[in-house]
Amino acid sequence: MRPYQLLRPRSVEMAVEMMAAHLEAQYIAGGTNQIDMMKAGIHRPSHLVDIAGLGLDRISDQGDVIRLGALASNTVLATDPLVLEHVPMVSQTVLEGATQQIRNAATTAGNILQRNRCPYFYVPGTRCNRKNPGSGCDAIGGFDRLNAIFGTSESCIAVMPSDLAIALRAYDARVRVIGPDGMRTIPFADFHRPPGDTPEVETDLRKSELILSVDVPKAGRLASAYHKIRERRSYAFALLSVGGAARLTDGRIAELRLAAGGVGTVPWRLPQVESALIDEAPSQEAFQRAAALSRDGAVIGRQNAFKLPMLERAIVRVLTDITET
């Protein structure tokens, strides 16, 4: 591990200034992923700017939205009464991620900024365009069982691994950030970037920008569920997951939000499935017909074709759960 200097800013503005002052500085929040990256030698910061203690850990009701502080712990997210009442899928997704110990330390912003879990990103000596831009991608044509089938490019097929991000994508959340040029808001749909030719650029964040909060529109009238399939029942990233929220009116689906994890290089919204079911009465046949539309745009690799039928099954499972009356 490269020796680094720990900086303790006293305000958000000071944190941004510190970051801007050092070319190789990085923020540290809960550290659950940052420290792993440093041990693996993938992150080699000269300075760590510690953003704990700046008042970014609160969850509040802002009228139309629930504001999730960037540094609210995942455990708090999972149990906060405002979250449970207004945006319950946030809790459902967080509880399916990591372990209690990790959730105690991990934060909202850290969760959605966590690096990908592609094996080739971690194993030393492999070609990886995220690790070493321009070196190539050993995941393509290799052990790609865990990799993405949507939003991929010839340079990268890594999955965006956050569970929480699936709920935020389904809820159309917004990310509030502050940087050297002031504050701005990023729609969650634009926050994570598909790899394209620059897979090392993973988010819309600019140099030195700091996440203040994630604002989630209230959706308490929607029934929600998160179904995560994985290779062990806890402490494993999604092989595939589906989060959904729905509202029925007169026995028909009036509102539906669906997003999938473990399949996309970014949190994968399923608009074609959603629109096929609006105004439909819930039934297994209708669900299966709509779920089949989820295959649109898939690019299959060597070992991950099973994700297509698995995605359909997970969609039907979630739809069944959120439309039960």
């Binding site: 591990m1 490269r2 020796p3 041990k39 030698g41 879990r117 094996p119 080739y120 971690y122 194993v123 030393p124 000596g125 492999t126 050993d138 044509g141 290799g142 052990f143 865990l146 179904h227 399939i229 994985r230 290779e231 062990r232 029942r233 806890s234 402490y235 494993a236 990233f237 092989l239 060597r302 099973f306 039928p309 698995m310 099954r313 997970a314 039907v316 499972r317 069944t320």
Partner: protein
């Protein structure tokens, strides 16, 4: 009577309060910290290695590479751990002796520094250029590359036939067949492999978490050209081994070599990623197997051709799945052959129930297929094919309560409600499947010695070079000594894991209680004979005080007799398990299991039960989650960490109920105890896949199961 009591482990408080000092908790004065750098190719040579940037890191003490590594004496190709005086060699290929690379993550440099962090940073700055070559990868279709195994563990037949299996198969009214695959698994002990090595002139002192202190000592003595008595190896506590800490591995040799070269004590703890390098693993297997029988349940013939993998530099067969299936049932016709494919892999080592784990998966899966094919209850098929004597040797069983295990297990599980048709059982909207399988493990006993010493204050000390790898050996030794001396186990102290203590075998093959326990019992008997207890009211302290000596001690050596030639000694068991399958996603989950075992006298039901829980976790891991993945193009390990190598967690575990049958066995050893440590991981894999078949109609023949495995084709 202390034997048979469920007393908590006597080393428990030290472990849970952090006062137990494991190998890497020792920091001899002046030590340097080590960090290993692994190769990033599977086969080839090192063209160029540049350590200049690493050497410039402040606090670096020195760097060992093949360019400055001492030349070592060859190790023997594997000496059986069943001989306590044998040397231990995991692989004949010794570390850093030349510029060749023969497996992924082979060590290319060892950095020593004043701090671990400096060593790690310097390690990352070592630049290595390779000339890679095409690696030989496991290929079951490349039959010309396979070699037959003639002997297993130096004594057992690798090629085995009885009767006329092919003719009997051809004549059978019903035949089931299939190919079965079991995965590469890594032991992944919670305590990483580590070595603390210090030289004092020509004497070597080593701390190492190991299942075999004497083997490590003898292996190091041989490699470095030392007298065995000049090497001391200590291993008081071991954060589990599972077979992966039994044999001398390259990191230990490197730590010892670096300590000598740089004249500093060395502390080397390998990284989690290097748990996937050269400390051993369970080799994969690929088996073509068939079973022929009558339409009413009599097995006529069983055949299995198993292929496993071995390194290019030596032949080892530590996953010999062809052994256990030979003695389980009364079929007169049988073939069970083992072959190896030499690949660019490190040397495999034993892993919990080595051979039984894969072999019983194959055999029990065949039986379950057969039962399903003829529409019979799988328990009934097994009863019908009971082996009255061991069909491999013709010897009578020393004891065999397999039928009683079926009876009791079926009753505890509620098997009477089993409806054989696939998909016929549901609960709360889920598909329910039930499955069962037998379990077996051989009773092994080897030579062991022990010393028991009594003090004037009445305390008793047991000492021998045996090991507690989390199994409860400290506690079991105390119980046996206390029982023999008529005192409470709390009055007994136990010293283990030190080559200065009386000889004991490796803690492998579930032999420790039988071997070491018998020696402790004999030594305690000798001590009792030495002491004049008359008129003391049984007070050991009083008897010692009478002698006027500081202590009174007795030794004993205990070894097996000729019982092997008269009786066949095995433990048996029966596994029953239920799985629940989501009817939409077809994702399966084990919900409850029952295991009933007959393993002779149970010395401590609490520690025995813990062993079985661990065995079940191992079987769940092998059946459902654990799999070391090699890149299909170059053989490199793709998931060398606990995030992607999925060891099962609590959420994967079913509710477990265990029972030990009371079994008296006068033949096995003076205690009447059989080994239990491996039994829980045997057979359950096949019960799980059969339960999935029962729920969905689809029989998984490769392990581990994957969440898409039950999708319709």
């Amino acid at each position: 009577m202390a034997i048979g009591l469920s007393i908590p482990r006597i080393d428990g408080p030290a472990k849970v309060t952090g006062t137990a000092r494991y190998a890497a908790d020792h920091y001899p004065e002046g030590l340097a910290q080590g960090y290993l750098v692994p190769a990033t190719i599977t086969r080839g040579r090192i063209a160029f290695i540049d350590t200049s940037a690493a050497e410039a890191v402040p606090a670096v003490v020195g760097i060992l590479t093949h360019e400055n590594m001492v030349s070592l004496n060859p190790l023997p190709l594997y000496v059986t751990p069943l001989d306590p005086m044998g040397a231990s060699g995991q692989q004949v290929r010794l570390p850093m002796q030349d510029d060749r690379i023969e497996h992924d993550l082979e060590y290319v440099a060892l950095v020593l520094a004043e701090t671990y962090e400096a060593a790690q940073e310097a390690g990352g700055l070592i630049r290595v250029e390779y000339e890679p070559e095409d690696a030989v990868q496991f290929d079951y279709e490349d039959r010309a590359a396979h070699t037959k195994v003639e002997t297993i563990f130096g004594a057992l037949e690798g090629q085995y036939t009885r009767g006329d299996p092919d003719a009997a198969m051809a004549a059978s009214a019903v035949r089931v067949e299939g190919t079965f695959d079991t995965p590469i698994m890594h032991h992944n002990p919670i305590e990483l492999h580590a070595t603390v090595a210090a030289w004092d002139d020509n004497r070597l002192d080593v701390r190492e978490p190991t299942q075999w202190v004497l083997g490590i000592r003898n292996g190091l003595a041989q490699t470095f050209g030392l007298r065995a008595e000049d090497v001391r190896v200590r291993s008081e506590y071991v954060g589990v081994g599972f077979g992966g800490k039994g044999l001398l591995a390259p990191h230990t040799i490197l730590a010892v070599a670096a300590a000598r070269r740089f004249d500093r004590p060395v502390r080397l703890v390998i990284t989690r990623a290097l748990e996937f390098s050269a400390v051993g693993f369970r080799a994969r297997t690929h088996t073509e197997a068939a079973l022929g029988g009558t339409a009413d349940g009599m097995i006529e013939s069983i055949t299995m051709e198993m292929l496993s993998e071995t390194p290019v530099f030596q032949d080892v067969a530590f996953e010999p799945g062809v052994l256990a299936p030979r003695h389980m049932y009364g079929n007169v016709n049988m073939r069970a052959n083992l072959a190896l494919h030499a690949c660019n892999v490190p040397a495999p080592v034993p892993m919990r129930a080595p051979g039984e784990a894969s072999g019983m998966f194959v055999l029990e899966s065949l039986l379950n297929d057969y039962a399903a094919e003829i529409g019979m209850d799988p328990v009934e098929v097994r009863r019908m094919n009971r082996a009255e004597v061991n069909p491999e040797t013709g010897l009578p069983w020393s004891s065999n309560m397999l039928m009683e295990c079926y009876d009791r297990g079926a009753a505890m599980f509620g098997w009477a409600d089993y409806t054989p048709e696939a998909g016929s059982m549901t609960r709360d909207g889920k598909l329910i499947g039930w499955g069962m399988a037998s379990a077996t493990y051989p009773m092994i006993r080897t030579i062991s010695a022990a010393r028991v010493r009594a003090f004037p204050n009445g305390r008793v000390q047991v000492a021998c070079a045996a090991h507690d790898i989390g199994t409860g050996m400290y506690t079991v030794c105390a119980q046996i000594a206390a029982d023999t001396l008529g005192i409470d186990p709390s009055g007994v102290d136990v010293l283990l894991g030190d080559t200065d203590l009386p000889l004991a075998p490796a803690a492998v093959a579930a032999q420790s209680t039988a071997s070491v326990g018998s020696a402790v019992q004999a030594a305690a008997r000798n001590l009792r004979a030495e002491l004049d207890l008359s008129g003391t009211g049984g007070s050991i302290g009083e008897a010692v005080r009478r002698t006027g000596r500081a202590s009174v001690e007795a030794m004993a050596e205990s070894r097996p007799g000729d019982e092997y030639t008269r009786v066949s000694m095995y433990a048996f068991g029966a596994n029953f398990i239920e799985v629940e399958v989501d009817p939409i996603t077809l994702w399966a989950r084990p919900t409850r299991m029952v295991g009933v075992y007959a393993g002779g006298k149970v010395i401590n039901p609490t520690t025995a039960r813990s062993q079985l829980i661990g065995g079940v976790a191992f079987a769940i891991g092998m059946a459902m989650t654990e799999h070391t993945i090699r890149d299909p193009r170059n053989g490199r390990t793709a998931n060398p960490d606990l995030g992607l190598y999925h060891m099962p967690v609590q959420a994967d575990m079913p509710e477990m109920r265990f029972e030990f049958l009371e079994e008296k066995d006068p033949h096995v050893n003076p205690l009447g105890a059989k080994g239990l440590g491996e039994l829980g991981g045997v057979g359950l894999q096949a019960a799980i896949t059969d339960a999935m078949r029962h729920a969905t109609g689809r029989h998984v023949r490769y392990l581990p199961y994957t969440p898409e495995a039950l999708f319709p084709a």
